[in-house]
Amino acid sequence: MSAPTTPLEWLTVLSRDAAATFVVTVGFALLFAVPRRYLLGSALAGVLGHVARTAAVERGVPLELATLIGATTIGAVSALLARRVRVPMSLFSMSAMIALVPGTFAYRTMLALIALVSTPSPPASLATDALVLGTRTALVVGAIAVGVVSPSLFLDRSR
């Protein structure tokens, strides 16, 4: 996939991204039993966060850093919404952050590890693959946790 250049290409990429993230966030909000009146808020946090990450990735920012940007957006939007309606921010942030989860990275890490142990005398490249994929997965997960939590430490004075 080539990076978008014209405004129309950007609009297409980001609106597709926003639509998919909306479905992911609302789906998980239903699983987490988020009350109906907070569904749109969590969708807003999720869409803004993931679109921010996608925009950053398309501009050439590494995925780990882009995830930190996206997760911080989610944390900030959720903390602001939570402060407005006086409920815990988890109501918004928990389903919102799910779309950032690096599913394919985690799965490919696992496949690489399986290949590593099931190949007789494995080539060094397999070990490198597993290490790189595993490290990136861990960094992205860490970026999600840090990004979602940290804005509330600044925005929520009651804690």
Binding site: M1, L30, L31, S90, G103, T104
Partner: protein
């Protein structure tokens, strides 16, 4: 509240809060019970430790308990209340650390109303019972929504229409399986193991039939099993200094992830043994 603002500032110091005066032994026992109940509901519905402590303190204040100490552990809560030289301690076990943000919000929302005195002890008891019984979204709706979410994930993972179709069906089926096992009170780790095994087998099969990408289909469906709330609350607890609950949550989340990996790995081994994709 400072003495100046307090409507009871005219009273002698030893009767600081008149709501506390009327608290007989029975009333105090009742209040402690309700406070623990509220805290337990929060803990088992996925609240982080700081939120449990804050809400419990608010409930205690509202119910006229003078002084309270709370200990939140991964398996339950302990509170000690002190009235003059007298103190009492009560423990309540919490066995399931689930996620039910609606329940969590309901308990948190009632605390300020208890504090203003709008909700009495009796009303609080009725409300907590109501919250405990409150209905979730219907199961079929959650299964469909998770199917749709997995399908949307396949698009975020750069899949096409084939992957979309496979994950829509597969995601909803795997969710339905989890609901069925949960309803029968199967051990949660066994549930995750079955679900990840089913994900690996079903999605590899579906992807094979539809000539879709196995990696995209399996990972977009398996994402629904990832314990995201536990991970983030582990981080939040750690940052706020609640190390015991932080470590417990992190350990549980890590175990779940390992169980997912085992299930998918076994499924991969089986499908390869059957001549599936390498």
């Amino acid at each position: 509240m400072s003495d100046k603002e307090s409507p009871f500032a005219w009273m002698p110091d030893d009767t600081a809060d008149p709501r506390g005066i009327g608290l007989s032994r029975e009333a105090l026992r009742d209040a402690v019970d309700l406070i623990l109940w509220g805290g337990a509901l929060l803990l088992q519905s996925g609240a982080d430790t700081a939120l449990v402590e804050r809400t419990v303190a608010g409930l205690a204040k509202g119910l006229g308990v003078d002084s309270i100490d709370v200990l939140v552990s991964p398996n339950g809560l302990v509170i000690t209340t002190t009235e003059g030289e007298d103190f009492r301690t009560k423990l309540r076990r919490v066995t399931e650390l689930g996620v039910d943000l609606g329940k969590m919000a309901a308990v948190v929302e009632i605390a300020p109303r208890v504090m203003t005195g709008e909700v009495s002890r009796e009303a609080l008891r009725a409300r907590l019972a109501e919250i405990e019984r409150a209905a979730h979204y219907p199961r079929w709706l959650v299964a469909l929504a998770i199917g749709a979410a997995c399908a949307a994930f396949s698009q975020l993972f750069h899949g096409g229409p084939r992957e979309l179709g496979c994950t829509l069906v597969g995601g909803a089926l795997v969710m339905a399986l989890r609901q069925a096992l949960h309803k029968r009170h199967v051990n949660p780790y066994l549930t995750v193991l079955s679900a990840s095994l089913a994900t690996g087998l079903a999605l590899t099969g579906l992807a094979g039939l539809a000539r879709a990408s196995v990696t995209v289909c399996v990972s977009a469906t398996a994402v629904q099993l990832i314990p995201g709330v536990l991970f983030v609350h582990a981080g939040r607890d750690m940052i706020k200094g609640h190390i015991v609950t932080a470590v417990a949550r992190a350990a549980k989340a890590t175990t779940v992830v390992l169980v997912i990996a085992v299930g998918l790995a076994v499924a991969t081994a089986i499908t390869r043994g059957l001549g599936g994709p390498q």
